[in-house]
Symmetry: C2
Subunit: 345 residues, 2 copies
DNA sequence: TTGAAAGCGCTAACAC
DNA sequence: GTGTTAGCGCTTTCAA
């Protein structure tokens, strides 16, 4: 590949001058400038980012460490991080931990197993001398994976960091749940079955609080027997609907669209007409939701907002437009967007 | 960050020796070895890939240039490329052209607009001195985007390259369509409506050939009036079903699950019971398919096989285990996997 | 078994 | 305006 030196020789100038015109640094006479540009064009010279990176001690590369890019939430966040980064002339490298593919939903039990996967990847991005890292979690929780003296800025995406130095960008579960439950309440539903994930899951907890707040704001008493804790699956949605049916709800709020799918399955098996005899609301606005019959009312995760915000926070920090944060961790919450379809009557 | 030189000083040896023990090159006495390893441990030394890349003229980075990572086909392919690459100690960097986000389905009309997006990205991966590139297309067609004298190996994924130097890895549309149509025929369906994309689309053409071959093999005459060309959308599926209904088909083969969704919409609106009065088959096995009511029989895209094959071909070429190909372009085809659900009766 | 020296391609400091 | 020099952190001769 052709180098700056060859261009210099070809034009009878020094490498410095070539470097200067490429980067628009020092002023150069019009004619040398044109000569150099012409030579670059002719030879097909491409600057070598590797050499540049070594010299400048700055690669303009951002690493995304994703817990699992196969999670439906990951690609939109990644896409939006890339978009923002490219606009600001950063490149993105992605590492995939494949945590769910490896261990399903149970892996976060073992700190040791977790670190056996994360740590080498962290070493690796350290070695790649990236300018910053965005950790993209698969679901909300407190994650401690960054060394206290990380040599570059980091941002936690879709989960909470344990350090004041690392800001977190998450969805506003409580507000979003409150909003969709309010929709149900406004339609006259007072007995709303809540179908959640595991009780210790942060999304479940926050959405339940949102649910309770909506009830409270509408003056409807909270009935704990209308709450079902299960798994994050379609099957669990069925079980939840079946279990709560004893309590005669007029609507279900399943906190994921997949679980709502299970609610549909149960209701269909009982020939109960959804959107007429009973209402159902989901959460996530996965692609499946629009294809349910009837289409599912749900709330869309603010995935691109999260990605954009994370990229922005990171690049601000990289470029030093950020004073050191010593107080509380910085947490940015983004609300979901209600998507009204016909599953609520 | 600590460097090899610091380790060397600390241990009273030369940088060469440190480099040797790190990379297991020349033999080193047991004690210097241990001393060095200890120093590395203590100081938290991380090799600098940037410097290494400059010196070795080899970055061990693979670039994926994706036409749109928001296409549902992209993430699984990327995931599998990453998995294979990491196993072979390559890192991957992803560029996203966002072609669909920018221009919907119409962008491939304009070579000029297309190149205004691809070319800078290609320049960029050239500058990054990656060891190889995988181009990940959004849909099958012949793509000419690589310069004839690309300085590194390349592989075309999910589309066809125009060069004998660049192998292509694609799905076997014909075989997969033939298989699913045969399933329909074996269930006794002889009048099968074919709902395709645009007539000039390669997937449409190949799947239609597969459809025709299945008919032929079952001795059923081909009726061109049972073929509908439309768009790659849910709405188009509805239109196709409506149009073809005049010809009294007993089954529909929609060549995407989204279009099958539109077929469902039409049939539901007419109160025609799917899986009983009429059968429907899709294509892709998107996540939506399992949530249709009744669940959709379809065929799963071999996305991880494609990714793995592409990565393998690329790394083989990078490591020079590949003689120069001068004859026909190398095309690898992977068949889909039938997923039987209850939409066929 | 170990070390000295050179150089990958670039930019920054400084001199002219 | 332009050139000289040094050096980013590493590996690779080649010599000891």
């Amino acid at each position: 590949m052709v180098t700056i030196k060859e261009i210099a020789d070809r034009c009878g100038v020094s490498p410095t001058t070539v470097s200067n015109v490429i980067n628009g640094k020092a002023k150069t006479s019009r004619e040398t400038q044109e000569k150099i540009l012409a030579a670059i064009e002719e030879t097909g010279y491409k600057p070598n980012y590797v050499a540049k990176g070594l010299r400048m001690q700055r690669t303009r590369i951002i690493a995304i460490i994703a817990e699992d890019i196969a999670q439906f939430t990951s690609p939109p966040v990644i896409e939006s991080i890339m978009e923002y980064s490219e606009e600001h002339d950063y490149r993105v490298t992605v590492r995939n931990l494949r945590l769910y593919a490896r261990w399903g939903d149970t892996w976060y039990d073992s700190e040791e197993a977790y670190h056996s996967i994360v740590d080498p990847v962290l070493q690796d991005v350290l070695s790649a001398r990236v300018d910053g890292v965005i950790y993209l979690a698969g679901h909300a929780r407190i994650i401690r994976c960054f060394d206290e003296m990380l040599p570059f800025p980091a941002v936690m995406c879709y989960a909470f960091s344990d350090s004041a130095k690392v800001p977190s960008v998450v969805i506003d579960d409580e507000k979003s749940a409150c909003e969709i439950v309010s929709l149900l309440l406004n339609k006259g539903h007072e007995r709303i079955g809540f179908i959640g994930g595991k009780q210790e899951n942060i999304h479940t907890q926050q959405r339940l609080i949102g649910y309770q707040r909506a009830l409270f704001e509408h003056g409807v008493p909270f009935d704990p027997d209308l709450v079902y804790y299960g798994e994050w699956t379609r099957e669990s949605g069925w079980l939840g609907a079946e279990t709560l049916s004893a309590r005669k709800p007029s609507a279900f709020f399943a906190i994921s669209d997949k679980m709502a799918g299970g609610v549909y399955d149960y209701l269909n098996s009982r020939k109960i007409r959804i959107g007429r005899e009973i209402s159902v609301a989901g959460f996530d606005d996965e692609s499946i939701a629009a294809y349910f019959n009837p289409p599912l009312t749900t709330t869309a995760l603010p995935l691109s907002e999260i990605g954009q915000c994370a990229a922005e926070l990171l690049i601000d920090r990289i470029e030093g437009e950020q004073e050191e944060n010593t107080g509380e961790p910085d947490v940015r919450r983004f609300p979901c967007h209600l998507v009204k379809r016909s599953s609520i009557g």
